[in-house]
Symmetry: C2
Subunit: 206 residues, 2 copies
């Protein structure tokens, strides 16, 4: 049964319902919201999405999303080009940039090795990473993948591939989150935070 009195509305709702996390009811709500907006506002939404998809470029160096062939971060002369932070996707770049604690460059893998999802090393930007390390004067790569089995597998795979290349491989610290209650921290994180304990003085002036 077709409950839409308008094909235009139905088409828009079906398109919106394709988005992840948006069901049919939310799609109807969004479509009716858009109907109450000015035509210009709806046009700027629709055109922003189309323009983004059509014109976006992935940086040739680090595979970050970019408007240019080499992204702003890779092009920034004030950043440490000898330090690469390896991340899963673009959201991780944003999250780390938000901390304002990292002044090196990135390398976006585009995922992690996950045999269950059919994602092997060949599907990720791993070979370009090895080429970067060989060709550019990279002294350290920081693995900043999720602490999941897939993340750990990917860490280990890259670590093995880098064995004969002279570069320091580090991983981001795992530990109890700031503000977290010890009793609610999972055992593995708490355990690692004890094993990787730091001299108390080293935490001053952070």
């Amino acid at each position: 049964m077709n409950n839409f009195s308008s094909k235009l509305l139905e088409t828009a709702v079906n398109e919106l319902a394709k988005l992840p996390g948006i069901g049919k009811k939310s799609a109807v709500r969004l479509a009716l919201h858009l109907l109450r907006q000015n035509t210009q506002e709806v046009e700027s939404l629709g055109n922003a999405l189309i323009k983004m998809r059509n014109e976006i470029i992935f940086c040739k160096n680090c595979f970050n999303i970019s408007d240019t062939e080499i992204c702003e971060i890779c092009n920034n002369q004030n950043r440490d080009a000898g330090l690469i932070c390896v991340v899963e996707d673009v959201r991780d770049v944003m999250a780390i940039e938000n901390t304002a604690q990292f002044r090196g460059l990135y390398h976006v893998l585009g995922g992690v090795i996950s045999p269950m999802d059919g994602i092997g090393p060949g599907d990720l930007n791993i070979t370009p990473l090895l080429l970067r390390i060989e060709k550019q004067a990279i002294r350290e790569i920081i693995m900043a993948l999720s602490p999941t089995m897939e993340g750990d597998t990917t860490n280990f795979y890259i670590y093995k591939r880098l064995k004969n290349i002279k570069v320091l491989v580090t991983t981001i610290a795992r530990g109890v989150s700031i503000g977290d209650n010890l009793e609610f921290t999972d055992e593995i994180t708490l355990g690692r935070s004890i094993v990787n304990r730091l001299p108390y003085e080293s935490t001053f002036n952070r």
Copy 2:
């Protein structure tokens, strides 16, 4: 601080974040999802929204969303044109159509009277409703507004305006939902369901 490595991405995220119920994080997730789709898919989404907004028409008779000047429901000769169901918005039309229990026509008010939100009778399609009732041979209007104070106010306002017009005004039944547990039903609904009790035989063959 600008954390987006791409203005195109940033613009798209900002546009998506204007939608109700979609925060910045969800907007980023949606934008990155769209980047992984084909250009055609993103174009069909964007264009569906723009086309809907630019071309949609509200039915001149009932104010339902329509692709034509008079909507499919009003144009349907098989429906009972003497019976009008008055609803708040287009979603209610869809919900009632889904029940397949109503074969009359609708009248979409476009809201309810809500002094708190600055919505008075003049902002709603009430005068066109009165004109319909006067000009067309309407024998009954069913008020199907939400059981809120605003809905009740609107019901009463319309009822008063209709006092000198010969038309039967009814409201949809309030009662315990089918499948609902009595002990979890609120007192007002339960109270009304006792006051408006029905002969048991009348519930047969529904």
